[in-house]
C-alpha cells in the first residue's frame, strides 16, 4: 500500500521525472557508449588537435591527447555509474544482513558488529582509500569498488540496526513469534520489509556520494589510471590547463554533477514520498 501511495505521489513530481530521465540516459551511456559516441575510448587521437576548444565536428573540443572530447566523456560514464551502483548494492547487502543480525539478536552479536562498525567509521575516507590503493598499485574498477565498499558500509548498517531495534518490539512481530515463526522467518518476512525503506533512501543518496568519491580518488591520481577513461581522470588532467582551456574542466564536471545531482534528487523525492509526516 505504501509503495502504491508513494508511486502516486512521485508521479506528480517534476523533479522525479527529471532525475529519472538523466539517470536513464547515464545508464544507457554506461551500457552502450557506442550509441552515443562515434569513436572508441582513446581512439583516433591526433596530438596536433591537443586541447583545442569546441568547434565544428567536435562538439566538446579535444582533450590533452587530441582525442575527441565528447567520445571520451561519454566513455567516462561507465566507470562512475558502475562503481557507484556496485558499491552501493554490496554495501546495502552488508548493511541489511549485519543490521538485521545486530538489531534482532542484540547482546554479543550486536556488540561485535557495532564496534566493528565504529572502527571502520573512524577511518578517514580519502586517506584510508589512498593508503589501500597505493598498496595495491595494479587496481582496476573492481578493486576500487572493494575499497569503497570497505569504507562505505557503516552508515547504512547503523541505520538498519536502529530500524530493526525499533520494529522488533512491535505487536505484530510478537504475534508472529507466538504463532511459531522461526527467527529467520521473523527477520526476513516480518521485520525486513518494514525496516528497509529509509535504508533504501540513504542507499540512493549514497550512489551519488560514491560517484563523487571515486572521482576524487581518480582526481588525486590514486584511483583508475590511463588507459582507463573516467570523469575523475579527465578532471585530473584538466586541473593543469583549465585556466586557458576551460572546456577540459567544464564538460566532465557537468556530466559528473548532473549524475550525482540526479541520484541525490531522486533519493530526496523518494524519501518525501515514503514519509507522510513531511507532506
Amino acid at each position: 500500500m505504501l509503495a502504491r501511495d508513494a508511486w502516486l505521489e512521485l508521479r506528480g513530481r517534476a523533479v522525479f521525472w527529471l532525475s529519472a530521465t538523466v539517470l536513464l540516459v547515464a545508464s544507457a551511456m554506461a551500457a552502450f557508449p557506442g550509441l552515443f559516441a562515434a569513436l572508441g575510448p582513446n581512439e583516433r587521437c591526433d596530438l596536433r588537435m591537443s586541447k583545442r576548444g569546441p568547434q565544428a565536428g567536435a562538439l566538446f573540443g579535444y582533450d590533452l591527447q587530441g582525442c575527441d572530447y565528447w567520445s571520451q566523456v561519454v566513455h567516462g560514464t561507465r566507470a562512475s555509474v558502475v562503481v557507484g551502483v556496485a558499491v552501493t548494492v554490496f554495501a546495502l547487502l552488508i548493511a541489511i544482513v549485519l543490521g538485521l543480525v545486530a538489531g534482532f539478536y542484540g547482546g554479543l552479536a550486536d556488540a561485535l558488529i557495532s564496534r566493528t562498525t565504529d572502527v571502520f567509521f573512524g577511518v578517514p575516507f580519502v586517506l584510508g582509500a589512498t593508503v589501500v590503493l597505493v598498496a595495491f598499485p595494479d587496481h582496476g574498477m573492481w578493486a576500487m569498488t572493494l575499497v569503497l565498499v570497505l569504507l562505505g558500509w557503516t552508515t547504512m548498517t547503523r541505520l538498519m540496526r536502529g530500524q530493526v531495534i525499533a520494529i522488533k518490539h512491535m505487536d505484530y512481530v510478537a504475534a508472529a513469534r507466538m504463532l511459531g515463526a522461526s527467527d529467520r522467518r521473523l527477520m526476513v518476512r516480518h521485520i525486513l520489509p518494514n525496516a528497509v525503506a529509509p535504508v533504501f533512501v540513504v542507499a540512493m543518496l549514497n550512489v551519488g556520494n560514491v560517484i563523487a568519491g571515486e572521482a576524487t580518488l581518480d582526481y588525486l591520481g590514486v584511483g583508475l589510471q590511463y588507459p582507463d577513461v573516467s570523469w575523475g581522470l579527465q578532471l585530473n588532467t584538466a586541473q593543469t590547463f583549465f585556466a586557458e582551456h576551460p572546456h577540459l574542466l567544464v564538460f566532465p564536471a557537468l556530466f559528473l554533477t548532473a549524475t550525482v545531482l540526479s541520484f541525490l534528487m531522486l533519493g530526496d523525492v523518494v524519501r518525501d514520498a515514503l514519509d507522510p509526516r513531511l507532506r
Binding site: D118, P124, L127, V131, A212, T216, Q239, F242, A253, L278
Partner: protein
C-alpha cells in the same frame, strides 16, 4: 557520569583497532623502505640489519605496533627513515590544517544554521526553495570542481581573495579555502537544521507555547530552535574530524602546506612513519569529537541522559 565512563571505555578498543588497522595497511605497502633509502648503491648486510633493528622492522607486526603506540603516548611519533622526527615535520603543518578546518567549521556553523532557519521558518516559500535547490547543487558538485572554479573566478578574475599559499596569514589566506572545504558540510547543516526545525515547529509544545500567548520570536528561539539543533550539533561535531581529514584536496588546490599535502606525498614515497603518525592523530581527533558530541547530547537533552543512564 556512569554513561560518560562507559562511552569512554567503548572508545578505547575502537581507537586501538582502528590505528592497528591503519598501521598494518601502511606497513603492508610493497617495497623495502631500507633498500629504497639506499637508492642504487649496494648496502652491506650488517648496516641493513642495524637499521632494521633500530626501526623495529625485524620484529613481528604486533610488537612493532606496541612500540609505536607507547611512543605516541609519550608524544613521540617516531622518525622518518631519513632520521627526522615525525612530530617536528608535522608541527607547522598541523597549525595550517587546524586553521583551515576551523575556518571551514565556523563557516558551516554560522551560515549553515542561518540558512537552515531561514528556510525552515517559511517552509515552501521562496527562500526555502532557493536554499533547498542551492544546497542540493553544492552537495552534488565535487569539492575539487568547486575549489578550482572559486579559485579562478573569485581569486584570479575578481581578485577578491588570494589564490594560493599562506602569505596573507589567517584569516586572509584561509577564507576562500575554508569556504570551499566547508561548502559540503554547510549544505548538510542547512538541510538538517531546516528539516529538524520544520518538524519541531509542528510539535505540541510549540502549539502550547503559542496558545499561551508567547510571542513567536520566543517560541522559535527559546523552544523550537533549541530542540532542533540537537541533530545539527551531532553533525557538526563529527564533521570537524572529516574536515581535518578531508583537507587533502583543498590544500592541494590552494597550495596550503598542511598535513593533508604532507601525508599525500608521504603515501606515494612510502614514508610509512609519517602516514601512520598523521592518520593516528586524525583518528584521535575523530574519536574525541565523537565522544564530545555524545556527552554534549546528554547535556542538551535530558531525555537522552535519562534513557541511557
Amino acid at each position: 557520569m556512569r554513561y560518560a565512563a562507559r562511552r569512554l571505555a567503548q572508545a578505547v578498543p575502537v581507537f586501538v583497532v582502528t590505528t592497528f588497522l591503519i598501521y598494518t595497511m601502511v606497513f603492508a605497502l610493497p617495497g623495502d623502505p631500507m633498500l629504497a633509502l639506499a637508492g642504487d648503491k649496494p648496502v652491506p648486510e650488517q648496516v641493513l640489519a642495524v637499521m632494521r633493528q633500530r626501526y623495529h622492522l625485524d620484529e613481528p607486526l604486533l610488537v612493532q605496533y606496541g612500540h609505536y603506540m607507547l611512543g605516541v603516548f609519550r608524544g613521540d611519533l617516531g622518525e622518518t627513515f631519513t632520521g627526522q622526527p615525525v612530530s617536528e615535520l608535522l608541527q607547522d603543518r598541523w597549525a595550517v590544517t587546524a586553521q583551515l578546518a576551523l575556518t571551514a567549521w565556523v563557516f558551516e556553523l554560522v551560515v549553515g544554521i542561518g540558512l537552515g532557519v531561514l528556510a525552515g521558518l517559511r517552509r515552501g516559500g521562496a527562500a526555502d526553495t532557493a536554499v533547498l535547490a542551492g544546497t542540493t547543487f553544492v552537495i552534488a558538485v565535487p569539492v575539487f570542481v568547486v575549489g578550482y572554479t572559486a579559485q579562478i573566478v573569485l581569486g584570479l578574475n575578481l581578485g577578491l581573495f588570494p589564490t594560493a599559499g599562506t602569505d596573507d596569514g589567517w584569516p586572509g589566506s584561509y577564507l576562500l579555502p575554508g569556504m570551499v572545504l566547508g561548502s559540503f558540510g554547510l549544505a548538510y547543516v542547512a538541510r538538517l537544521t531546516r528539516t529538524s526545525l520544520v518538524e519541531n515547529l509542528r510539535a505540541d509544545y510549540v502549539r502550547t507555547a503559542t496558545a499561551k500567548g508567547m510571542v513567536r520570536r520566543r517560541v522559535v528561539g527559546l523552544h523550537a530552535l533549541r530542540n532542533s539543533l540537537i541533530p545539527v550539533v551531532t553533525y557538526l561535531g563529527v564533521d570537524f574530524g572529516n574536515l581535518m581529514a578531508g583537507a587533502v584536496v583543498t590544500e592541494g588546490i590552494f597550495n596550503l602546506p598542511g598535513i593533508g599535502q604532507q601525508v599525500f606525498q608521504s603515501i606515494q614515497l612510502q614514508e610509512g612513519p609519517v602516514v601512520v603518525g598523521v592518520v593516528t592523530l586524525l583518528v584521535m581527533v575523530f574519536i574525541a569529537a565523537n565522544l564530545a558530541v555524545d556527552l554534549l547530547y546528554g547535556v542538551l537533552d535530558p531525555r537522552i541522559r535519562r534513557a541511557r543512564a
